[in-house]
């Protein structure tokens, strides 16, 4: 039932963006999200969009595939636009019953829509080009300074990667339990919302029990293989910056500088 979600999934292909160090991609995505809120004009958004689409071009991920993923947030996008459109005070353009569309509201709504779309596409580009494993490795490495503050960075990363490993297994299990319940007359097809929620109880209880049992087994298997937390551990695939990663950081910096410049330099002929 989760098969049609393309948002946030890894897209297997080979490209410059796929080969980049995952740390660069995480930092880059964060910088990109911040840049979207730094710029505040349509020229700025044009620069942001150009940058993003160049990146998509470099990633070898089909644009159609990314846009299809956007359907998941369409409703969210429309609601945000509606709120901005109708609830911003200012110079009234149109009145529909008790709703007023203002000039400022219109400009806000359009800007918000652009911002949100670019933000979602930008961050999904990261997950499309980075495997979950690389992501957890990168998060562990980037958060490493927090170890001094006694944040269990390694443990957090390990939990994330185990969670990712068990998603398909638990999905399969859900499917199995569902079929077993259907065979005994359970109704998962009902359109009635309350019935639907009620039918989830006999599904979730066995699922939780089995998840706990699995967790117990896995903990023992990890201990049997000498797992004792992050201390003294070596890495099979350590993250090492290559030349292209330094280049990527430089490009990011340049892009960010342009965004700040657009914000600071007043261009009178633009909104």
């Amino acid at each position: 039932m989760f098969k049609d979600i393309t948002l946030g999934q890894y897209y297997q292909t080979d490209s410059l963006l796929h080969r980049l160090d995952p740390r660069v991609k995480i930092v880059g995505t964060l910088a990109y999200i911040i840049s979207l809120f730094v710029v505040d004009s349509f020229v700025g958004y044009l620069v942001c969009a150009l940058f993003l689409f160049t990146m998509i071009g470099l990633s070898n991920v089909p644009v159609g595939y990314i846009v299809r993923g956007m359907r998941a947030i369409l409703i969210l996008l429309l609601i945000t636009m509606a709120f901005n459109l109708f609830l911003t005070p200012g110079e009234v353009l149109v009145t529909i019953g008790f709703l007023k569309i203002t000039k400022q509201g219109l400009s806000f709504a359009v800007k918000m829509a652009i911002r949100l779309s670019l933000l979602v596409i930008g961050s999904s580009l990261m997950t499309l080009t980075t495997t979950p494993n690389q992501l957890t490795d990168a998060i562990e490495s980037l958060l490493n300074p927090l170890k001094r503050l006694r944040v269990p960075v390694h443990e957090i990363a390990m939990m994330m990667s185990i969670a990712l490993r068990f998603i398909p297994i638990l999905m399969e299990e859900t499917d199995k339990i569902m079929k077993a319940q259907i065979a005994r007359g359970a109704d998962f097809e009902s359109k009635n919302l309350i019935k639907k929620i009620k039918s989830l109880v006999p599904l979730l209880v066995p699922l939780f029990i089995s998840a706990f049992r699995r967790a117990n087994d896995l903990a023992m298997a990890m201990e049997a293989r000498c797992y004792r937390g992050g201390a003294g551990r070596t890495k099979m695939k350590p993250l090492v910056y290559q030349g292209r990663d330094h280049g990527a950081y430089f490009i990011l910096l340049a892009y960010f500088a342009v965004c700040i410049a657009i914000r600071l330099v007043p261009l009178p002929f633009l909104v």
Partner: protein, 286 residues
């Protein structure tokens, strides 16, 4: 290699409030010796204490009384804990619940990573171990895409990569289909013969125990029978008392013998039985 002396293990039972209400004796005065390079099979029906015994060999459980030595290391000594776990690797029953990595090669590297092996050495170990169990061409695959037998062989590779002297397999074939079962047993046998790793196989498939050097049968926390496979399986009635089967061929030989044919007890393979029957046929003709 492994020496167990007068081992007793009690599980503490708790009532609904979590207060101890009694104990269950899972292992009762067990002593046994395993020499290096042996292939040992431990048999027993459910609840006979065989899995509890296995967990003692890897220092996942500790003796209530008595002692366990792995390669001369006392499992009660906490400072030796990780050395014991590295010396005696463990393969569990459910392959899904012991694979940690999302890619086969990463899972095999998990043990060496924990031991602090340098990166290049890890890759070397991973390659060797995957080749040993015949899973090298699957190294980039996700474990979720493998069959049960393949997953279990990956688990074995994960243990071999830690360079253990002994591998304890706790019903590794219980959840597999017949062909997966055969592959896993073949891999275990190969490790025993070629790498000289001591194997302790816990199973309830009698056919798997035939190849062992020595068989122990557990019942009610005690060792009820021990000896070579032939010695153990020739006592068909005793095995049945313990709610255990003997291999089908052995049973057939036993039943034919009871009907008056001159067949020795403790036939273990089909070839053996057919040889004996052919000889009998020849004898009848003459």
């Amino acid at each position: 290699m492994i020496k167990i002396s007068k081992l007793i293990h009690d599980y503490i039972q708790r009532d609904e409030e979590g207060n101890p209400s009694g104990t269950i004796r899972a292992i009762d005065d067990v002593s046994l010796d395993v020499s290096p390079g042996q292939f040992i099979a431990i048999l027993g029906h459910n609840g006979s204490g065989k899995s509890t015994l296995a967990k003692h060999l890897n220092a996942l459980l500790f003796p209530t009384e008595g002692a366990v030595w792995v390669n001369g290391m006392d499992s009660r000594d906490q400072s030796l804990l990780w050395d014991i776990r590295q010396t005696a690797g463990m393969v569990f029953q459910n392959p899904d619940n012991q694979i940690i990595g999302q890619v086969v090669e990463e899972d095999v590297g998990f043990g060496p990573e924990n031991m602090g092996v340098p990166t290049e050495k890890i890759w070397q170990r991973v390659e060797e171990s995957l080749k040993t169990v015949g899973m090298y061409e699957y190294r980039k695959k996700s474990p979720n895409r493998l069959s049960g037998g393949q997953k279990q062989r990956v688990s074995i590779a994960g243990v071999i990569a830690m360079h253990p002297k002994c591998i304890i397999m706790d019903e590794p074939t219980a959840m597999l289909d017949p062909s997966g079962r055969a592959d896993v047993i073949k891999a275990a046998r190969k490790l025993n013969l070629e790498e000289n790793i001591t194997i302790i196989l816990i199973t309830h498939y009698m056919e798997e125990a035939i190849q062992a050097d020595r068989v122990f049968v557990m019942d009610n926390g005690k060792i009820a029978m021990q000896g070579s496979p032939r010695e153990v399986f020739s006592q068909v009635e005793r095995m049945q008392e313990l709610h255990l089967d003997v291999p089908q061929v052995t049973l057939l030989g036993h039943l034919l013998r009871k009907k008056g044919l001159e067949i020795p007890e403790g036939i273990l393979t089909r070839e053996e039985l057919s040889d004996v029957l052919k000889k009998l046929k020849k004898g009848n003709r003459q």
